[in-house]
Every structure is written in structure tokens, then in C-alpha cells.
Symmetry: C2
């Protein structure tokens, strides 16, 4: 039985820039270099120039394919031979299923039974084999261990893995390669794989770019962890941002503590109204988890408190947002009752 | 009182390539050069390589701003001084309102009372002044004439105008500039402004590209006109493709007869299921009128009968689709009851 590397101490070394460059070269032939979109009406509403990195258009509908592809194609044939197992609320599962199919091996996905049905269907469409579990983190880990023991599959942790973090870093790297003078980048935070990668990918190109995590009030473990300085966890959450119900791991917490300016919290109502606004004004479909990273920009108090206004060019601040995914159930939208 | 040029005979000369180049130069500073997107899953479903020209991302949410901006900025201050009046089911009205505001003059929009409320709100947001009329074409023309008489505004016809056609031609021109070896381009047809422009803009770059119009069965005047060789009209239509309820004019009919290979009809059910498919797979919002131009590609009988398969590179046919707009009422989607 193969296992993900276990790290027993808290002095993690984050993936190096060289590791991120290698990850990008490894995954580039298989993933999209997603477009960066702007919107005059969103700019007017925020008082900023906002650059949206559209990983909702990414293969499998989310950024998760970046990390999963990097991890899965980093492994030897011996390690990969019995397939892969993972825990996922949906998007990471679809990504592992997709990348495992590219490698020609099975994917076993353990997902909480409150995950959206549309995400389960996507996993099955890529050939993934689903085992449902209770929404609690403890149940997920237990079921994943059982599946792993039964199959001999290699565990691809959704975020507590440097290969995953290095893969997710490529989204911000691409964004900064396209818009080099961003003042700040906003990304959602759940287990912290995307946000850790955003720190490393963005600061690898522009050291003084400021990074903000964005999190639902109803799943605020990252906010509590960074304000208390001690890793906090979340046993379960019912936030509509279904991709953001996990908790930080020691590895991602260590990277975020060093690199993230703060974690901004948003309410369920703000998530829903922001998702609808982006659909309506930008004509793109983002999932609630992505709206979490846009919602803070629409609060005047937050934008003014961030004090980005001293640009050498005298213009409005330039803010990047990672739109993490676009997988929603179109037959049931939160603003239609 | 100013009026649009009246043409009394049927031997129309279409706008020249030079006119289209001038239109493009005139509008380029004000409009988006919209992206061209592709989708591996749509390619797999159609057996073709499909290139989507995303004018759903255009200013005001549709291609209509191209023609309206060209017409409105072609006019002298004397002609434009009393503002503009037009008839529109929504998108052309929003475009005229937006372009009139750029010129600093009023816009009077006559729209049928069965047009989507969201389109009326967009017109008002751009400062347009709306007069509602009955859905019949005869009612529209009568009300527009009255508003024109009262205000002295200049009539910007939604399609029976070379300046409009030359503006709409820039969408296909941009598409062919980006993907030069398309075998065919598909566009929706209503009054024929976009489809006429698509013929001229595409064939100006690649003479042997084949052009197909796509039309709802429930608003099939263009199909009847091209098959009978005589201009047919539509008194009214209730198709869900709310942008496609108008009839060809002599000017657009003349261009289509010479340049369009055929008009492909699609059912209401096909329009709805295709719109949902594009939302789900491409994560972009298109309105039903745009789905009309995608639906034929999903019918195996049509794709095989088109016989595009003899490419010199041996690959699948390359097909362009003009996605005309993305203005939908998100609070009421046709697949949610």
C-alpha cells in the first residue's frame, strides 16, 4: 500500500519556485491556460481595476485539475499502478478522476453525501468510482483509509501535499505573467491548497503583491487560525460555498501564516448576491465558492481599508481574483425559489 | 426631422469591404474585441472543431453595439442633435441607448411589451426612454413613426441600414482574423443584420467560407424567404429566442440570397436544451437566440449532410459560431419550473 508523505513537524518548507516551474511544465500540455477577463461595470462598482483569472473555464470546471495532474504525473508507474483514492466535496474528485483516466488507472473518490449531485455526476462521467460518507471530516478520513486499504490505491490528499500546492500555484503564476503589476490577489480558502499556491505563484513573480484569503462566515476556520495563530478546525459546515467546507492542514497553515495579509469573511447572502452579479454582468458561470473571493471587493469598507491607492501610475488599484470553478447545478439556483 | 435613407428598388449594393474596414476602425475604441472560445466536450459531441465568437461578452451584452455604434458615430452633429429613435426587442435598444449616451444625446426606444423585463431595465440603465407597443411589427413601426414625429429624433433601423450591417460584419471579421481557415460560420437570423454582416465580414477574409443561418421553427420567415425566393414576413412570434422575432428586410434578403447556403430550423426544445448545455459545459451565459446557432451542430443529420469532411489537413471540420448575446433574466430560467 502506498501513502502520501507524512510530515510530523511544523517547520514546513514550502514548494520552491523551481518546483512550481516544473509543475507548470508538467501540466501545461493537459490543462487550459485560462483567460483573464475584466468588466467595466465591476470596475465601476469596486473603484478598482479587477482582473479575473477564469479557472471556471479550466478542464473539469475548476483549478483542481492543476494540482491533481501535477501530483498524478509526478508518480512512478509502481506508485500509480493501483490507481488513486481521494477525499473531495466534488471538484478535486473530478480532477483526480480525470487525471487518473489520463494515466489509465482507476480513481476512488470519497465524497460527503451533502455534496452537489452535479459534482458526483461529473466524477462518474470521468470514470471515477464514488463512495459516499458523512459530511464530517472524521468520517471522510476514516472511509478514505478503508478504501485505500481495500484497493492499494495511492492517496492524493486534496491540499496537504506539496505537489498539489505547486500545481495550484500555476493559476496565480499565469495571472501575474499576464498582469504583472497587481497590487493584490484574492482567492477563496478552504483547506488552503489554492490560497497557499496563490501566495507562492504570485509572490514568485512580484514579491510585494498582497494576498488575501476569502472565506464564508459559516466555515471560518482559516480566519480563526490566522487571528489566533493556532491551527483551528471545522468539523462540518453547511455553507452554500460547497467547495469551502474543509479545514487548513499544518502545511497550508504554515504557508498562509507567512504570506497572507488577512482572511476576509463573507455572509451567505453576500455569496449568493455576488454570484448572481457576476453571472449577470460578466455572462460567466461561477460557483458560490468563487463568489466568496469577489464579495469582499464589493464592500466599500473593505476596499477603502485596504488602502491600495498609492500606485505610481496614479490609477485605481489593480486587483486579481482567482475564479476557482464553475460547477453548479443549473436546475436549482439559490436565487430562484 | 431626419430619416434613415430610403431605398426604393431591390437591387441593393451591399456595404463594401472598405466600408466594413471603416466601420471597424470607427467602433474599435468603444467595443470589446471579444474572445473566441472552444470546448473539448462540444467538439466531441459535434465531431467538429467549433470556434465560438463570444459577443455575449460584448458591451451591452450583445453584438448589437457594433452596428449601433457605427451608425450613431457616422452621423453629423446636425443629424444626431435631436437624439435617436429605434424599434427593438431589447438588445438593439440597449445598444442605441448606450451609443447615444456616448454621443450625449437622448435615445427613444420602442419595444414590444412581451420583450423580457431584464432587457427593458438594461435600456433604462443606459438612459434610454422606452415606449412599449404591441408585439406586432405593424404596431412597432407605427409607434416608432409617432415618437420620431414628436421628438425629431433620427431613426436607427435595427437592421435595414448599411451602417448597421457594416458594424455587425465586424464580429465575423474578427473571428476569421483569429481562425482563418474556418469551413463554415453559423449565425442566428432575425431581421438579417447579423447574418448579412456575417456573410460580408467572413467572406471578405475567406471567400469560400460557407455561411449558414439558424432560425427558430416558430419564426421561420428567413427560411421561407430563401426557399421560395420571395421575401416572406412574420407578423409576430412567441419563440423563446426573443431576439429573433423580426422579419428580413429587402436589403438583408438581397445579401442573404447571394451568400447564405441555407437556413437551418430548430425547435423550441432544442433551443432550451442547447442553451443549458452551453451554460453547463462552457460556463458561459448565452441567451436563447444564441443557442439557435449552436443547436444545428448537435444534430448528426445536419452535420453529416453538410459534408465538411474534406479538409486538406485531414482533420475535423472547423466551424465558427457567432454567440450573439448573453442577456437573460436569471430569475426565470426556461429549464426551471
Amino acid at each position: 500500500m502506498s501513502t502520501a508523505p507524512q510530515v510530523e513537524n511544523s517547520s514546513f518548507q514550502p514548494p520552491s519556485w523551481k518546483t512550481i516551474l516544473e509543475a507548470h511544465a508538467r501540466i501545461a500540455p493537459r490543462i487550459h491556460r485560462t483567460p483573464v477577463l475584466t468588466s467595466a461595470s465591476i470596475d465601476a462598482m469596486t473603484g478598482a481595476r479587477v482582473y479575473f483569472k477564469c479557472d471556471n473555464f479550466q478542464k473539469t470546471g475548476s483549478f483542481k485539475i492543476r494540482g491533481a495532474t501535477n501530483a498524478i504525473f509526478s508518480l512512478s508507474n509502481a506508485e500509480a499502478g493501483h490507481g488513486f483514492v481521494t477525499l473531495s466535496s466534488g471538484n478535486h474528485g473530478a480532477a483526480v478522476a480525470r487525471a487518473a483516466a489520463w494515466r489509465g488507472v482507476p480513481a476512488y473518490i470519497v465524497m460527503p453525501k451533502n455534496a452537489p449531485a452535479v459534482k458526483a455526476r461529473a466524477i462518474e462521467a470521468y470514470g471515477g468510482r464514488i463512495t459516499f460518507c458523512e459530511p464530517k471530516m472524521s468520517s471522510r478520513a476514516e472511509v478514505a483509509a478503508r478504501v485505500q486499504a481495500e484497493t492499494g490505491a495511492y492517496l492524493i490528499h486534496p491540499y496537504d501535499d506539496d505537489r498539489i500546492i505547486a500545481g495550484q500555484a500555476t493559476a496565480a503564476k499565469e495571472l501575474l505573467e499576464e498582469v504583472g503589476d497587481l497590487n493584490a490577489v484574492f482567492a477563496p480558502v478552504s483547506g488552503g491548497g489554492l490560497l497557499s499556491g496563490t501566495c507562492l505563484g504570485a509572490k514568485g513573480i512580484r514579491t510585494d503583491v498582497r494576498i488575501f484569503g476569502c472565506e464564508p462566515e459559516r466555515a471560518d476556520d482559516a480566519h480563526r487560525s490566522l487571528t489566533t495563530g493556532t491551527l483551528q478546525s471545522l468539523e462540518s459546515s453547511d455553507t452554500i460555498a460547497d467547495g469551502l467546507r474543509a479545514s487548513l492542514a499544518p502545511r497550508t497553515f504554515a504557508i498562509l501564516r507567512k504570506n497572507v495579509e488577512s482572511i476576509l469573511l463573507v455572509s451567505e447572502e453576500e455569496i449568493i448576491s455576488t454570484a448572481r452579479l457576476i453571472w449577470e454582468r460578466m455572462k460567466i458561470i461561477i460557483e458560490p465558492s468563487s463568489a466568496v473571493a469577489v464579495a469582499p471587493l464589493l464592500k466599500p469598507s473593505i476596499v477603502s481599508s485596504l488602502n491600495f491607492m498609492n500606485r505610481p501610475d496614479g490609477g485605481a488599484p489593480k486587483l486579481g481574483v482567482i475564479l476557482s470553478g464553475g460547477n453548479v447545478d443549473l436546475s436549482s439556483l439559490p436565487w430562484i425559489r
